[in-house]
């Protein structure tokens, strides 16, 4: 099993203690695109932050690639995330001081498994697949929203992670760009055998995903 959660409960304490995730148990497999959908405020983002190991302040268990995430030290977790998880946000968040290529290279430069030249080569290959090799040297903030999101996906892929987590990746895009990003993520899932989890409230996406999980008020609807 690529990813498995058991009985995850999550509370927030501001303004007062309230439960945001209730008994979440789910499994995610490689080569499958899983969509998490539900109304705004139902807990999709909160769940995704936990699945992507950014938030470890929860009750229950999270296993990814047979690692008990809660048992990793801070340093181990950072490495683990760097190597195995790619994250795509609603607001792409590229670093404006860097050009497109440099942004894509950042996670690999941290991993340090390859030389800079090899990393550059990988990044250019990714850009070619996305049909964006022309903008490699361009400042990232000069791209359109759809282009920026594709660069963000390339950045999430550079270390060849097993799990891609995307929180409303199309939420900020028009229909055309939205379709393009979804197709891209589907392609990543099937061709690269990745496990992809998308939070969305776009029916077109969750109806066309391999697996759809509906969230209602912090619980999974069975």
């Amino acid at each position: 099993m690529m990813l498995e959660t058991k009985q995850i409960n999550k509370y927030f304490y501001e303004p007062e203690k309230h439960q945001v995730l209730k008994n979440i148990s789910l499994q995610i497999t490689s080569g499958e695109l899983t969509a998490v959908y539900g109304e705004s405020g139902s807990g999709k983002s909160t769940l995704l932050y936990i699945l992507s190991t950014l938030d470890r302040d929860f009750e229950g268990r999270l296993q990814i690639l047979n690692h008990e995430i809660k048992e990793l030290s801070a340093a181990e977790l950072t490495n683990f995330r760097n190597q195995h998880i790619g994250f795509v946000y609603q607001f792409h968040y590229l670093l404006s001081e860097f050009n497109v290529l440099q942004n894509i290279m950042l996670p690999a430069m941290k991993l340090g498994a390859k030389t800079k030249e090899e990393i550059k080569h990988d990044a250019i290959l990714l850009l070619k697949e996305l049909g964006m090799q022309d903008v490699a040297k361009r400042a990232s903030y000069k791209l359109s929203g759809g282009q920026q999101q594709r660069v963000a996906i390339a950045r999430a892929l550079i270390n060849n992670p097993s799990l891609i987590v995307a929180d409303e990746p199309t939420g900020n895009l028009d229909q055309k760009n939205s379709d393009m990003i979804f197709d891209l993520l589907k392609e990543v899932t099937s061709k690269r055998e990745k496990a992809v989890v998308i939070a969305t409230h776009n029916p077109k996406i969750y109806q066309n995903s391999d697996k759809a999980i509906e969230m209602i008020d912090g619980s999974i609807r069975l």
Binding site: L54, Y93, P107, T115
Partner: protein, 406 residues
């Protein structure tokens, strides 16, 4: 290799941030430069003056002086023709020879006198010395401006050595003649055998060297000694002073601190000034860096969050910001050291009109490598300190909070 490429990336990110705030980074660098320059120039100058004075005063004057107490009955006399001499000089000598901390000592007979040249006459005093022992007290060869040193006093019984300021006032030079009039009315024709300078007027205005034997004979006080000058092995240990007052009753013992109070205080004041001014400037520079980094951290919270989600550790983030402050610090400090050297050099070659206090051609400036290293270390240390807290703040940014926040 893995560490290597990560470090490279971190430094690269740090420099991107610096470049994005060129103006402020430059200003912060200048701040450090100013602090380090000031430190180096001031410490070069202040220690230069201190060392110069130390050298002139402490090598030119004895560490301790033993002299006779004023004799009350004789001081009531209207005209004093007899000078007070040390009575039990043999006892004093035996005591001094036994002391551990004494490097050397020498007898002197000092008498008031009037020196008369062709153009001028000056009241003052004559230092009658025994050249062979005085040689161990004062390195006069190094101070000679013209003529000969102590040896000339051995050759001729009317040879006199003069401090430069005194010689100028009397308008005499080596080979010229002078008349000396003593309190008992005796006078003698002297010949200037050499002129020296210690560099400070308090000595060069009054100091003379004359054969003690001749002076004793003229005064009619054979074997009379008025002062014993001591040179100590450890100048700061003046315990001898209290120890000596018992066996040597009826003498006055004065140490270098008593005799040179103003100079000792002056040195302290200069030290305090140097450190406090440099510290204040570096503090301001440090605050500037703190501000820049702090606002960068606030502005770049999203970037920091992204870096953390894609695998950069808290320590990496700390380094990204520390690298910025250390580069500012190192660059500023190195510039400061260079500029400090240039300014010090210019000051050291600036001709100086002889003041009332020091007699030198140019300002005394120290050029010790250690001060430059110290200045650079201070500059960099300031920036590390001021960069640390913003860096720490950056490393504790919580990515979830930031990503949610939009």
């Amino acid at each position: 290799m893995s560490k290597h490429i990560t470090a490279f990336t971190i430094i690269f990110i740090a420099f991107q941030y610096l470049r994005a705030r060129k103006k402020q980074s430059l200003l912060a660098t200048l701040g450090v430069t100013l602090g380090v320059t000031t430190f180096i120039v001031m410490i070069n100058f202040m220690t230069g003056v201190n060392d110069f004075l130390d050298d002139a005063v402490f090598n030119g004057s004895p560490d301790m002086i033993i002299s006779a107490k004023q004799n009350k009955s004789s001081s009531k006399q209207l005209f004093k023709t007899q000078i007070n001499s040390l009575t039990k000089i043999d006892k004093i000598d035996t005591f001094l020879t036994k002391q551990e901390n004494i490097q050397s000592f020498a007898h002197q007979i000092i008498s008031p006198a009037i020196l008369v040249s062709e153009n001028n006459q000056l009241p003052g005093s004559i230092n009658g010395v025994f050249p062979s022992s005085e040689k161990n007290m004062v390195d006069l060869e190094r101070r000679l401006i013209e003529g000969e040193g102590f040896d000339s006093l051995l050759e001729k019984d009317n040879a006199i050595l003069l401090g430069i300021s005194l010689a100028r006032k009397l308008q005499v030079s080596t080979g010229d003649h002078l008349k000396m009039i003593l309190p008992n009315g005796k006078n003698k024709r002297l010949q200037v055998a050499g002129i020296f300078s210690f560099g400070i007027t308090t000595i060069d205005n009054v100091r003379t060297y004359f054969p003690a034997r001749t002076l004793q004979n003229l005064l009619g006080q054979h074997d009379a000694i008025t002062h014993v000058h001591l040179k100590l092995k450890n100048r700061d240990d003046v315990g001898l002073k209290t120890e000596a007052s018992n066996p040597m009753n009826a003498v006055i013992i004065e140490d270098w601190k008593d005799a040179n109070k103003t100079i000792v205080i002056g040195n302290k004041v200069r030290d305090i000034l140097t450190w406090s001014v440099s510290f204040a400037l570096l503090l301001v520079a440090g605050f500037g860096i703190y501000n820049i980094l702090n606002s960068t951290v606030v502005q770049k919270r999203k970037d920091i969050a992204v870096l953390k989600t894609i695998g950069y550790a808290a320590n990496d983030i700390i380094f990204i910001f520390l690298v910025q402050s250390v580069s500012i610090g190192l660059l500023g400090a190195l510039f400061g050291a260079g500029l400090g050297y240039v300014i010090s050099y210019v000051i050291s070659t600036t001709p100086l009109d002889t003041t009332d206090f020091i007699i030198v051609d140019t300002y005394p400036i120290n050029f010790k490598l250690g001060y430059y290293i110290l200045g650079v270390v201070f500059g960099v240390a300031t920036t590390i300190l001021s960069g640390y807290f913003p860096s720490k703040k950056a490393s504790s940014v919580d990515p979830v909070t930031v990503i949610r926040g939009i």
